[in-house]
């Protein structure tokens, strides 16, 4: 194929870095990833180690970020929790994007499939997200992989719907008609003409889904249908800390900040990526 990539990956990357906000955000996110990845090495204590006499200790010498209701070290738990939360966010964002793109392209491009696929998408979107996720996890059983699968199924229709709508617009454009008269294959048209032109909304939506997935996982864990409740995740930490909000607000503050900043940095990176992928904007950056 002629496609040596319209954009060398290196070029997109350097374009993302040229924008200061996305460069900083990327730096921060990588830092978070490193910290979380190195949790077993840098965590001060075992995240499961309870110390009943030192429960609800404010941040200070003995516990850098304080201790929770069971006297467990918040910093250690935060680091370990990040692994699970980020893994779920990334897993759901990635798999629902891939699934959603495939389904959306088929619905948008092949008219005879559209009716059926769109009705299924509508039906799925009619369910409240969390309710659908609960029932799926209940069927599949609670584990991290199953939570990822369940949430991917829940969020796939969002991507699919956007992809379908954009595909419907693009398939009528003259350059798609030109491709047909030039004899290009359907796969070529779908990837080079359609997919390439709808990358931006997909990336933006995928960063949203990353966020939703982390929050939804917290909800599932709280309701007891998520990851094994003893495994710390940022969502579980917030839910546990809620009960002590007046005594120990730091219990929800730190995991809350962790979620907020990861999400913020991720979205800034997503913004930069979206613009860098668009040759019209990339020049001006």
């Amino acid at each position: 194929m002629e496609g040596q990539g319209l954009y060398a990956e290196r070029k997109v990357f350097s374009l993302v870095l040229e924008r200061r906000s996305s460069a900083l955000a990327l730096l921060f996110f990588v830092l978070v990833l490193i910290l979380v990845f190195l949790a077993p090495i840098i965590a001060p204590t075992d995240p499961y180690l309870m110390s009943v006499r030192q429960r609800l200790t404010p941040p200070g010498d003995s516990f850098f970020l304080g201790s929770d209701a069971f006297g467990r070290d918040v910093l250690s738990r935060l680091l370990y929790a990040g692994r699970v939360s980020l893994m779920i966010g990334a897993g759901v964002a990635l798999s629902s994007s891939i699934l959603g793109v495939l389904i959306g392209l088929m619905a948008g491009f092949f008219r005879n499939l559209d009716g059926l696929i769109s009705r299924i998408i509508d039906a799925m979107m009619a369910f409240p997200d969390i309710l659908l996720a609960i029932s799926l996890v209940a069927i599949l059983g609670g584990s991290m992989i199953n939570v990822i699968i369940a949430l991917s199924i829940v969020y796939t229709p969002r991507i699919a719907r956007i992809v379908r709508a954009s595909t419907l617009v693009i398939r009528e454009l003259p350059y798609v008609e030109a491709a047909r008269s030039l004899g290009s294959s359907t796969v070529y048209v779908l990837t080079r003409h359609v997919l390439l032109n709808i990358l931006s909304p997909i990336i933006v939506q995928a960063t949203f889904i990353f966020v939703y997935a982390m929050l939804a996982e917290a909800g599932l864990s709280f309701l007891g249908v998520g990851v094994d409740p003893s495994t710390p995740t940022w969502g579980i930490m917030i839910n546990e800390g809620r009960q002590y909000i007046d005594q120990a607000p730091y219990l929800i503050l730190f995991p809350g900040l962790a979620i907020s900043f990861s999400v913020l940095s991720l979205q800034l990176v997503g913004d930069g990526l979206r613009d860098a992928l668009d040759p019209r904007i990339a020049r001006q950056m």
């Binding site: 194929m1 002629e2 496609g3 319209l6 454009l173 003259p174 350059y175 008609e177 030109a178 491709a179 047909r180 008269s181 030039l182 004899g183 290009s184 294959s185 070529y188 080079r192 003409h193 390439l196 032109n197 668009d278 040759p279 019209r280």
Partner: protein, 318 residues
């Protein structure tokens, strides 16, 4: 007798819409001689674009036959049809929407070569270079994106893409109407040059009559899906016979100030192709229409060599 490259026989296209069938093209006969540029004119909704698309099989005809270089396209198997389609290409109206904004010029122009597996990558780049020079652009332009070009330049890229597979027949669908007048002339001259050098045959769809007069050897006038008049450009322009053609021609602005001539203004809009008038489709707007015009569909009558018009009262009104 010149050799025919394309022959359209009784072509019709009916679209099914929610409101009922839309008669976009009705029973069209059109012969396009090899090496000629045939103009197809008519107002919006006359079916000229649909006719062009149907010729290239971008739209399947409802009935009728298209014979291309002696081969009936209806009776071809998919692989021969694909091979045949390589020999006919299209140039679009909108120079913005007809180029994928995410692809570089070289990828746009070489798309057809890639699709048909023509040449190695190096040979394709050489071909793209030659094509860019042929349409008046520079070889370095192949690394740029469409948004970096002006409308006229983009149209040149579109022409280069259409020429990449060395087609014999090109449908130019309103290919200059989106451009500035000064750029229009450049593109028209480019099309003429290409025709002369490559011996191309062209169907030039337009609503601008002066452009067609400049460019085309033959002109066909369409109204509501039917051809109402057809003939060599000189004859049609000097002695228009169908009332519709006359009104169209009298709408061309006169370059000489102060000159007066009789204008045949048309009233109203083109009727809906959902519910075309019975008999002669033009009768609802025709100043010469009689009651009898509602009963019979007029057929094309030979007036002069190759000059035909479809009107029941042709002899009375001319």
């Amino acid at each position: 007798m010149t050799e025919l490259l394309v022959s359209i026989r009784g072509l019709s296209k009916v679209f099914q819409s929610e409101k009922g069938p839309v008669f976009a093209v009705q029973d069209v006969y059109l012969d396009i001689p090899k090496g000629d540029i045939v103009g197809l004119v008519g107002e919006s909704g006359s079916g000229k674009t649909t006719l062009g698309r149907t010729l290239l099989r971008l739209i399947e005809p409802t009935s009728g036959e298209i014979v291309f270089d002696g081969k009936n396209m209806n009776s071809l198997d998919p692989s021969s049809l694909r091979a045949l389609r390589q020999r006919m290409q299209i140039i679009f109206q909108d120079p913005v929407a007809s180029l994928n904004p995410r692809l570089r010029v070289k990828e746009i122009i070489s798309e057809g070569l890639v699709a048909h597996g023509v040449g190695s990558r190096k040979e394709r780049i050489e071909k793209v270079t030659a094509l860019l020079e042929e349409v008046g652009l520079q070889s370095e332009d192949m690394h740029r994106f469409p948004h970096e070009f002006s409308g006229g330049q983009r149209q040149r890229i579109g022409i280069a893409r259409a020429l990449a597979l060395d087609p014999e027949f090109i449908v130019a669908d309103e290919s200059v109407s989106a451009l500035d007048v000064s750029i229009q002339a450049q593109i028209l001259n480019l099309l003429l040059d290409i025709r002369d050098q490559r011996g191309l045959t062209m169907l030039f769809i337009a609503h601008d009559l002066s452009v067609v007069e400049y460019l085309c050897d033959m002109v066909a006038v369409m109204y509501l899906g039917r051809i109402v008049e057809i003939g060599p450009s000189q004859n049609v322009y000097s002695s228009p016979s169908h009332p519709y053609t006359r009104s169209l021609l009298s709408a061309i602005p006169e370059p000489k100030p102060g000159s007066h001539r009789e204008r045949e203004l048309l009233q109203g809009d083109i009727p809906s192709p959902l519910n075309p008038p019975t008999g002669c489709v033009f009768r609802t707007r025709c100043r010469y229409a009689l009651d009898s015009c509602a009963d019979t569909i007029p057929t094309l009558v030979e007036l002069d060599q190759g000059h035909q018009a479809a009107c029941l009262r042709l002899s009375e009104i001319s």
